[in-house]
Structure formats: C-alpha cells, structure tokens
C-alpha cells in the first residue's frame, strides 16, 4: 500500500462523523464497497447515516442498525445496501443470504463489522476503522485498497 492511500483524522462529535460520511457519500458510485470496523458504539451506524445522506437517499433519516434484519436497502441516486455482520460467525453465512449479489452488484455496499466477514470483501474496497478516544471523540482511519479507492482518498484530502 502506498503512503498516500491512508488518511486519519479525529472526529469530535457525532455531527462531525456524519459530515465526513456525507462528504464520502458524494464521491461514491456504482459498485463501491465500504468496510466499517470498530467496537460497539464506535460510530459505524452514525458514519453510515452520513454516507447514505451523501448518496442523496430520500429515506436517509431511516438509516438504523441492521443488526436484527442484517441488510437494509436505501434508495439513493444509486441503490445503497447496508449490511451488519455483528450476529454472524463468518463469511459463509453472509454468502448464504446472497451477499455476493449485493457486493458485486451495481449499488454501493456498506458493511458494518466487516472484520467478521473478510472473505466477503472484494479485492478493492475502502476500509474505515473507528476507534474510541473518549465518549465523544473517535479516531477515524481510512484506507483505500486499489487505485480507484486511492483516488477517492485524494479527493477526501482536498
């Protein structure tokens, strides 16, 4: 991975995390995959709210934890799939609910707890790791795997 394919910043509030998500969402297009990694309460669903908003979903206020139902779909300017692997024990289970069709389909896919299902991820994707600093602050680290995602990182820096 080249030195330029990673950025890190500190979010001081839920609002800042959402604002970053919106900025990222605006840069996304068909086939993009975002892997979200972080402990309970790190802000994965909050980040997703922003990304879905940046993708112009009319139902962006309906973004909520998919822990129970596993996959939520929102109608943005392109379809957005919001997957949660919290309850799963591995990639095979995600595969059995049809994750391949989603991840390799033509929408944007956001996967919470992506570290539980590493084999479900494509070769190229954007990885966002959220780490608790204090109750409000989070370190957000974004890595792009593949040239295309490195370009997105460059745009995020600007």
């Amino acid at each position: 991975m080249s030195k330029n394919s990673k950025i890190t910043f500190v979010s001081k509030s839920t609002a800042e995390t959402i604002a970053f998500g919106v900025k990222l969402g605006k840069l996304l297009t068909n086939g993009h995959v975002i892997a979200l990694i972080g402990e309970l309460g790190a802000g994965k669903t909050t980040m997703t709210k922003g990304i879905v908003g940046g993708l112009d979903a009319k139902d962006k206020d309906k973004v909520k934890s998919p822990t129970f139902s596993l996959v939520h779909k929102y109608d943005g300017r392109i379809p957005v799939y919001h997957i949660d692997a919290y309850r799963l024990s591995g990639s095979q289970e995600l595969l059995e609910i049809g994750s391949d069709e989603i991840v390799f389909g033509d929408g944007v896919t956001i996967i919470e707890w992506a570290d539980i299902v590493p084999e479900s991820l494509p070769e190229n994707y954007l990885k966002i790791t959220l780490t608790h600093v204090s109750e409000d602050q989070r370190i957000i680290e974004i890595c792009g795997y593949g040239k295309h995602y490195e370009q997105i990182l460059q745009q995020l820096k600007n």
Partner: protein
C-alpha cells in the same frame, strides 16, 4: 371460524389454531434461543434451517392439540413482513402450500400489528383509538391504532431497537443472551438511580427513539476511559446490578415518556404494549403507574404472548377476513 396461523419471522417457529379471533385452541412455540445463545444473537442461517426442520411437525402438533383436522381449518394466516428474509420464506411457503392444497383463503399479516393484537386475545374491552408501543429486539415503534386492523406509525427508533440495546449492554456486562430477562432480573437487586445514564428524547415533541448513545454510555461507564481494560473483571455484583437497573430505567423512562406524549396528543382511549420487551417487569409497572395518572387504561399481554407466537397472527387474521382483506397466493416475504 377456525384460522391456522404461522409465524417464522425470527427465531421462533410457531403455529396456532384460533377460533373466531379470540379462543386459542393451540399455540405451539418452538424457541431457538438455545441454538443461538453461543453466538450472542440470532444467526440467520441457523434460524432458517431450524424453521425448515421443524415447521411441518409443529403444524401437525398445533392441529392435534387443537383437536381439529387440517380439513376443518377455514383460513391460513402467515406473517410475511418484517423479519429475516430466509426465515419468513419458510412460513410463507408452508402457508401458501396449505392454502392451495385445502383451497382456503390465505391472509398475510404484519408482524408488528400481530404483536399489538396479542392484547385483544386476552382483554375484552380494548377501546379505540389507542396508542400501541411495540418493543422488541428488532423494533421500537409507536403506532396510532384506529381499530384491530388499522395502525399508523407515529415514530420509531432511528438507530438501535430497545431490545437490541438490552442484548448489547448484556454483552458489554459479560452477561448472557438474550439480554432482556437477565437484566430485568439483576435490576431488581440494583439501584436504578445509581448512574445517571442519558435519556435521549431527540427534538422536542419527537416520537422517534434513539438508544445507540445509551449503549455507548454504558460501555464507557463499564470500561472507564480505557477501553483496552479487560471486560467485567473490575465489576462487583453490586456494580452490575446497579448498572443493569440504571440502564433499564433510562430505556424505560424514554419509552414511557413518548408513549404518554403520544397518548395525550391523540387523546386516545387505551395504551397497548406488545413485543418481547413488553415482558419487562419494570416497563409494565412504570407504564401502569403513569397510565393511572393520565387515566388511560394500559394493556399488555401475558408473558407467553409477548414473545413471537402464532396465536396473535391467527387472531388478527380473523378481523382481516371479516373485512374481506384476503391476500391470495401471490404474497411475498418482505424483510
């Protein structure tokens, strides 16, 4: 009028026979709790396979226990939404098959509306309009209910469901799955004012809910500011009881506040509680107290009818049948 109901939306496989929308002739519930316990939550593939293995036997048991024959059944009811897609499909396919083979009407039922109807199975005089609160592992939704079959959503969770917060806090505290019953029990030994966990009310007058921040607040309280500390070791039993009680009180304060707010706003004649979290003893107690203050009767189902069950499905279907709301074989499972 005999209706056979089928419920497979999550991790309970249930089939019931209900007469005239009220009289439960049988209500067989097979819970998969034990199957999912090692994973700390429902694993969809396991749930789906378990439904498939047990559904035919449970249909047979429900008919036998009701002392009727399948040929005596007048209509089939099934939950087709919302739930886990693979799980719903098992029930919907079984229901379509029975409807086709016996040439009887098929009635699709909304899972949350059935939870509200659980109250009508046990209480005669539910007056409408009512405010209905359905709280479970997957849902936290307030409805304005105009009659048995008509419910309008007033508000819902914008992040985690209340039951999901119980499950996740239980995991943070190193307790078992499902989190609801164990926290309810521990909370009885704790001080619910020990820790001032946040109550999130959102914008003024909002009827939506948010429990994600509360979960994070518990996480920080338990682990301190150092999240790398090994979990649970520093907590005494008293601590865990106090955390459980204080967390539970924070959830319930918000649930009760919004339910009362909605009841006043729509000037309703009843409050109906439903869903797995409706089994929580403190929620029942507090809602009962508050409803007396505002002079609106509150109804909640017995514990068995709070969890997912097919009697509430077959019961509600009777009213839809009377209204001519028959679905037909084209119904789909909608997650």
């Amino acid at each position: 009028m005999l209706i056979l109901g089928i419920e497979t939306s999550c991790d309970e496989t249930s089939v019931a026979v209900v007469k005239n929308g009220r009289e439960i002739l049988s209500n067989i519930i097979l819970s998969q709790n034990k199957l999912h316990r090692p994973f700390g939550g429902v694993v969809p593939e396991i749930a789906c396979r378990a439904h498939l293995e047990s559904i035919i036997g449970i249909i047979h048991n429900a008919v036998t226990e009701a002392k009727v024959k399948l040929a005596d059944i007048n209509a089939i009811a099934v939950v087709n939404s919302p739930g886990l897609i693979g799980a719903l499909l098992i029930g919907v396919t079984a229901a379509k098959t029975l409807s086709m083979v016996f040439d009887i009407p098929l009635i699709a039922i909304h899972h949350l509306h059935a939870h509200i109807y659980a109250n009508n199975l046990e209480h005669d005089a539910v007056s409408y309009p009512a405010i209905s609160l359905v709280v479970s592992g997957g849902h936290t939704t307030l409805f304005l209910s105009e009659k048995e079959t008509k419910h309008v959503v007033l508000g819902e969770t914008i992040d985690d469901a209340a039951g999901e917060a119980f499950d996740k806090v239980s995991k943070i505290l190193g307790l078992e799955y499902p989190g609801g019953p164990v926290i309810d029990k521990l909370a009885k030994k704790g001080n619910n004012k020990a820790i001032p966990f946040p109550r999130v009310y959102l914008e003024k007058n909002s009827l939506d809910f948010s429990f994600s921040g509360l979960k994070t607040a518990v996480l920080y309280y338990v682990k301190g500011q150092d999240l790398n500390r090994p979990k649970s070791t520093a907590q005494s039993n008293t601590d865990i009881a106090d955390i459980s009680a204080s967390f539970q009180e924070a959830v319930i304060d918000v649930l009760v506040h919004k339910t009362v707010l909605a009841s006043k706003r729509y000037n309703v004649r009843s409050i109906l509680l439903g869903g797995g979290v409706a089994a929580n003893s403190r929620l029942r107690e507090k809602l009962q107290e508050t409803s007396q203050e505002i002079r609106v009767p509150v109804y909640y189902p017995s514990i068995k009818l709070c969890t997912d069950n097919a009697a509430m499905v077959a019961g509600l279907a009777y009213w839809k049948y009377l209204e001519g709301d028959i679905s037909g074989l084209h119904i789909e499972a909608i997650p």
